[in-house]
């Protein structure tokens, strides 16, 4: 066999192999594309259903109460229900894309897909914690503001924003812990923030605000009794 014939034979063999590989790969690619396409349709339907449900239960109002709507507005983002619907769309579609890609039979891909689906519950739990943290922070900070104003306490907004910050920091750290992201860093950061805040308040109130503390305590326990005596109004 001449060199030329040998070359042609190898080339033919290689071409056959390529054609066979393509013939083997093409149906899988088509399946992948079909899965991705079906995924898009399913994700879109899911998004539409979720959007309708959230509108029905007035979720945007709830997020407005939670203060989340204001945060989103400041960040020029759409409403919370829209954001959540889009999030579900992308999660569902990415899920389908990964399933489609795994059909291609790429080595190691199955493991990544499994990890992605394993991560989803934690992601939802973190979002849940964060949203209800915002809701709780808004409710309790407003309750503190109203109580402080009605009791005529000094600096009601400071009291209110301190409570809001603490609850948000707490819920964010819980959310990160749920995600498993920088667990120790977040925990340590939270401990430092909380501890330093308490220490700062104690120092400010005990040293810096001795006079304020005295006046406050006097007003609560000495002066108020005098005023109660002076004020004879009865609302009912």
């Amino acid at each position: 066999m001449s060199e030329w014939q040998k070359f042609v034979s190898e080339l033919t063999q290689a071409t056959h192999e390529i054609v066979r590989s393509i013939a083997q790969f093409l149906p899988r690619l088509i399946w992948t594309l079909i899965i991705v396409l079906i995924g898009w349709v399913v994700a879109y339907i899911l998004k539409s259903i979720l959007r309708s449900i959230l509108r029905l239960v007035r979720f945007d109002k709830l997020s407005e109460h939670a203060g989340a709507a204001q945060l989103l507005k400041k960040a020029a983002l759409p409403s919370f229900s829209e954001l959540l619907s889009r999030f579900v769309f992308w999660v569902a579609w990415i899920g389908f894309i990964l399933i489609g890609v795994s059909v291609l039979g790429i080595v190691g891909m199955q493991e990544h897909v499994a990890r992605f689906f394993g991560f989803l519950p934690r992601l939802f739990a973190a979002l849940f914690v964060f949203f209800f943290g915002l809701l709780a922070s808004s409710f309790f900070s407003r309750a503190a503001l109203l109580a402080a104003v009605n009791a005529d306490l000094p600096s009601p907004r400071l009291i209110s924003s301190t409570i809001r910050t603490l609850i948000i920091v707490f819920s964010v750290s819980m959310g990160f812990e749920e995600l498993g992201l920088a667990e120790h860093t977040v925990l340590v950061a939270f401990s430092i923030v909380f501890g330093s805040l308490m220490l700062g308040l104690a120092l400010a109130f005990g040293l810096g605000g001795r006079d304020l503390a005295r006046r406050f305590l006097e007003r609560r326990f000495v002066h108020e009794k005098k005023e109660e005596k002076e004020d004879e109004l009865s609302p009912l």
Partner: protein
């Protein structure tokens, strides 16, 4: 809570021993050892004097007193009554004391009284406040007679009060109830009131007794419910209303018990209040209003400071409750000096109606909405005190009437806000 669970076995046994009665007198108490004896004494004298032939029972519903309140009521028997020679007991007067579960709450006490009244088939019932130390035996006749003789279903009291007493009732609860429910009831949140067995059964059948609203403000709920149910109402003049020294002047619970329940009732009775046009007087026995002019010490400057402080600090909360023009007007009013400050009737009515609409829409927590009204009410109180500083009884009455008319005139404004239209 079912009727069976609120009446304990011992209490049921005592009620069965009493048998059917004509008159039931309910006395809700909680640590009232200092006053309850005097009140029960007056009740017994009133019964002997005006209703000697009727079968009567005094039911003391106690919220778990730590003093001798219950013992004092139980000790009350017909033999130790210091009555005059003309008073003769023709019937045994029973006196029962029971402790209802769940801690002190007027609503739970009233629920106990209603359940007992139904069991004993009482035709006429009256509730007397243990704080009314100046109660006269005649009060019983004034309250019970219209029910037993004239077939009235609910008799509400009228008192002689200081011109600066009961300001929340005068500046909000009375005018708003009158404007919306179209009945001129001067004391929609009564301390004393009488009702027929028929109305008692109707109240008992309402599904509100397990709700917080019934625990806190059952009295105003009963008034509104009687109006909404088309029952016959009347008001009867009793006399001077004494000041209760131990009741805290804390506005927040007072606001919850009255305004919170009134706002809540608007949602339940929308078809009723939205349809009625003008307010109508109800039958009145005795003087319609009497005002005493004794001076009262009030720190008006502090009221103004608390209003200004409240408007400034609560801005983010008020923004979600009030419309932008109303909030701007309030902020502008809060920026003037105390001597020039006036909270006009129109602005006050718009404020209250916008709060009611926001309460209906639940723009924020409903309890927070009620609490946010407290500093604004302080501003209105300041203006009322200033305007009526040297006013005669008639002038005070005419100022209250002007406010009532403003509430009636602006009723369409509430309807507009209620629907969410601008």
């Amino acid at each position: 809570m079912t009727e069976g669970s609120i009446l304990t076995d011992d209490f049921l046994r005592e009620l069965i021993n009493v048998g059917e009665v004509d008159i039931l007198i309910g006395v809700p108490t909680y640590n009232h050892a200092g006053t309850v004896g005097q009140v029960v004494q007056a009740i017994r004298t009133g019964l002997l004097k005006y209703f000697p032939r009727q079968r009567s029972v005094i039911i003391n519903a106690d919220g778990g007193s730590k003093d001798a309140t219950q013992e004092l009521v139980r000790a009350a028997s017909i033999s130790d009554l210091q009555h005059g020679p003309s008073l003769h007991a023709l019937r045994t007067l029973h006196s029962i004391s029971t402790q209802y579960p769940g801690g002190p709450a007027n609503g739970a006490a009233l629920h106990t009284v209603l359940a007992a009244a139904e069991l004993l088939r009482a035709t006429t019932c009256v509730v007397i406040s243990p704080d009314s130390t100046n109660i006269e035996p005649e009060w019983l006749e004034s309250l019970l007679r219209p029910v037993s003789r004239d077939g009235i279903d609910l008799v509400l009291p009228l008192y002689r009060r200081n011109k600066f007493d009961g300001l929340l009732v005068r500046n909000l609860v009375y005018p708003m109830t009158r404007a919306l429910y179209c009945k001129r009831v001067r004391e929609p949140y009564p301390a004393e009131f009488a009702f027929s067995g028929r109305l008692g059964g109707y109240f008992l059948g309402q599904e509100i007794w397990s709700q917080e609203v019934a625990r806190a403000g059952a009295e105003i709920y009963m008034t509104i419910s009687a109006i909404a149910g088309n029952f016959r109402l009347a008001q009867s003049f009793l006399g001077t209303k004494t000041r209760v020294d131990h009741v805290p002047a804390d506005l927040v619970p007072a606001m919850r018990q009255t305004v919170g329940v009134l706002f809540w009732s608007l949602e339940q009775n929308f078809s009723i209040w939205s349809a009625h046009p003008d307010s109508q007087p109800i039958p009145t026995i005795g003087a319609e209003h009497e005002v005493s002019l004794d001076p009262i010490r009030v720190n008006r400057k502090r009221l103004h400071q608390m209003f200004v402080h409240g408007v400034a600090e609560l801005e983010p909360v008020l923004e979600s409750i009030l419309s932008a023009p109303t909030l701007a007007e309030l902020q502008s009013a809060a920026s003037v000096a105390e001597e020039d400050f006036r909270y006009s009737n129109e602005l006050w009515v718009r404020t209250v109606y916008e709060f009611a609409a926001s309460h209906h829409k639940s723009v924020i927590s409903r309890d927070h909405i009620v609490q946010a009204l407290v500093p604004l009410y302080r501003g209105k109180t300041h203006t009322f005190l200033l305007e009526n500083q040297d006013a005669s009884a008639d002038e005070v009455e005419s100022n209250v009437e002007a406010l009532c008319l403003a509430f009636e005139r602006l009723k369409p404004y509430l309807l507009e806000k209620w629907d969410g239209r601008k």
